[in-house]
Amino acid sequence: MPKRKRDIANRFQELAIHLEKALGLGGTKTSRFIEGLSKNLGPMLERLEAAAVLSKSIPMDVVQSIFQAYLKQVAKDAGISWKDLQKTMEDFLALLKEGFKPEEILGTLSKLVSLYVLRGQQELEREVDEFGMDPAWVDAVRPLFEFLFRDYWRVTVKGIENIPANGRCLLVANHSGVLPFDGAMITVACLKEHRAHRHVRFLIEDFVYHFPFLGTFMHRIGAVRACPENATWLLKKNQLVLVFPEGVKGLGKLYSERYQLKRFGRGGFVKLAIKTKTPIIPVSVVGAEEIYPVIWKSNILAKAFGVPYLPVTPTFPWLGPIGMIPLPTKWRIEIGKPISFDKIKPKQIDDEILINKLSEKVRDEIQTLVDKNLKKRKSVWLG
């Protein structure tokens, strides 16, 4: 068994080398390519969208052919051989098929489906907890997320010892990647690499709960809707809570804005930390911002689907479901030293200028961590 696992990891490493050859080192060629795409494609898509609203339909095949011609041109301008790119994409898909073949991945999916359909009718050893986390669901998705952690994104974690073995703690991280994979990876990191194997409860945006299946799924695997009441409740029970103060703004960042942290809400997380006397631990995630390079966001279509944004990437929605596969970048998670607000009196909570200052301080700390790791990184694909 261990041999086969190493084999998969090697294959994904190989794949990363392929991608690096085709798309370039640490962002030079890659960013030229993707930035070239977003420069003219954005306005073009906007006009197309306006036309679509007027005529009430989008001829998808026309859009696709325009897009492909455009893609070829941009690739040429960025110094990327179209043939290489195509071949790499084919290799990528072939490797993916092999990588995803192992029984554990299929097992996870079938287990999830059976839990979804039959869970109500099973004899439960342990009931769901007060936030709706079901231990059986967590066990079912664990292999899949561990596979992503170990083989696919080859996550390296630094500074995990900065998280105490017990007691309440507020992890604050930069947010990115369209879907909250960063939250999942930090959770896996704490479960696998922390000496006390601590469980992380991560808070996510509430638009998730508008959707059928997705909301229930997120609840069952332990996510909690982000709001001050829920965070306070969890911290009072001495839990390890992960928040992304950038919120939806961070999740749907454009590729051109990557690794520039957005505004940290209105400092709600600082007030929370002061009120509950919780230390804040800054966390930086590098690698997640390239898994879905968002070149443009559609607002009109997003409204139709009831989502805050509908991302357009070089592969999505053009390639359909395949376009939803995240890219195998190399991730680094670094956990900083705890910041304590013990000296701040609860009375000072209404001092908005102070709160904003503290919130900016935390943001700076995370930005510094991100920049440090970006500097160390030689390649998006190989780390």
């Binding site: 869970r119 109500g120 079901d134 709960y209 909690v224 709001c227 009441e229 409740w233």
Partner: protein, 341 residues
């Protein structure tokens, strides 16, 4: 404020709505308890059982001149405590009647209470007034606004009734106004549109949604009301059991078959059935099958010193005939007494 009040407070009690589940069960408990004297039930119809020491008087709270009659009646009886349970337990198709019974009936009662020497008013509300929304926190506290009124006219009236009570408290700061909000009540004898819903052999659920739900056992609710009658605790209190259950789990424990229906089909179907006099609930209540509406009972413990005996799962079990044993209940009650001290 929180000390048990004197024995005098446990006499001259008026309960409105003696035929509904809450009113009649509370009436029965007060009848069997020697501490309570001079209990009067007012309702259009007589209570469903024979009264021993309590009296029933026919009053219709929706009549235009009922407020004067009630005021002089309260005066004559030296009424001290009014428990208002004369509200609808389920949505009815006649919206006008619904409004008259809930909102206008309450107005008449409060007008009469204002003119009388009654010093305490207790309202039976529900946690449904919070409404089920995707943006609700997992545990709603009493400070959370009651937004359920936006969902259906039935709940809008319930919220309006609460607002009338709160306004009354502001106008009469010396009187004690207590609002109890029980969660969905389950138990061996309870009977309302929610229990009817759970008694269907097949239960429609919203495809892809499996919200957590919360219950409270009927005896715990009555305990909370008796506590509010005996002691003085102004304010709003959630009366809820501990623990939550996913809806599909509830349906399984009940031994029913869940029928997942996509949202876009369920709403129109529910409305058609409702107006065709077949369905038990209008589409506006489907939100409660999709999103969270769970209340936090901490305040009831800290201020009212009320803690439920049953948790949500046990309340559900008692509904299907697997009640706790008497010695278990006694033991838990003792534990609660110990925790208080």
């Amino acid at each position: 404020m929180h000390k048990p009040s004197k024995a005098a407070h446990t006499k001259n009690i008026v309960i409105t709505g003696a035929t509904g589940f809450l009113g009649s069960t509370l009436l029965k408990s007060l009848e069997n308890d020697r501490r309570f004297r001079n209990i009067i039930a007012i309702d259009k119809k007589p209570p469903p059982f024979k009264l021993k020491k309590a009296k029933w008087l026919p009053f219709d709270l929706t009549q235009a001149d009922v407020d004067q009659k009630l005021a002089s009646f309260f005066e004559k009886q030296k009424t001290k405590i009014i428990v208002h349970t004369a509200l609808l337990t389920q949505p009815i198709r006649n919206l006008e009647e619904s409004h008259e019974v809930q909102s206008v009936g309450t107005m008449h009662l409060l007008n009469a209470a204002a003119a009388s020497k009654a010093h305490k008013l207790i309202l039976a509300s529900t946690t449904d007034v919070y409404g089920a929304f995707p943006e609700n926190p997992n545990f709603l506290t009493e400070e959370h606004p009651a937004k359920g009124g936006g969902l259906s006219p039935f709940l809008k009236d319930k919220v309006e009734v609460e607002e009338q009570f709160l306004r009354f408290q502001k106008k009469h700061p010396k009187k004690i106004v207590t609002i109890l909000r029980p969660a969905t009540i389950l138990g061996p004898t309870v009977n309302n549109f929610k229990t009817h819903f759970f008694q269907n052999p097949c239960i429609p659920i919203v495809m892809g949604f499996d919200p957590l739900v919360q219950f409270v056992q009927e005896r715990d609710v009555i305990r909370a009301f008796i506590k509010a009658i005996e002691e003085d605790h102004p304010g709003i209190f959630n009366i809820v059991a501990e623990g939550v259950l996913p809806l599909t789990r509830v349906i399984h424990i009940l031994g029913r078959v869940p029928i997942p229906v996509p949202t876009f089909l369920l709403y129109p179907a529910a409305d058609i059935l409702w107006y065709a006099n077949i369905g038990a609930i209008p589409a506006s209540h489907i939100h409660f099958l999709k999103y969270l509406c769970i209340a936090d009972g901490t305040k009831a413990w800290h201020k009212l010193k009320f803690r439920p005996v049953y948790n949500s799962l046990e309340a559900l079990h008692s509904f299907i005939g697997k009640d706790l044993k008497q010695n278990q209940i006694t033991q838990r009650l003792e534990e609660i007494e110990d925790a208080k001290a």
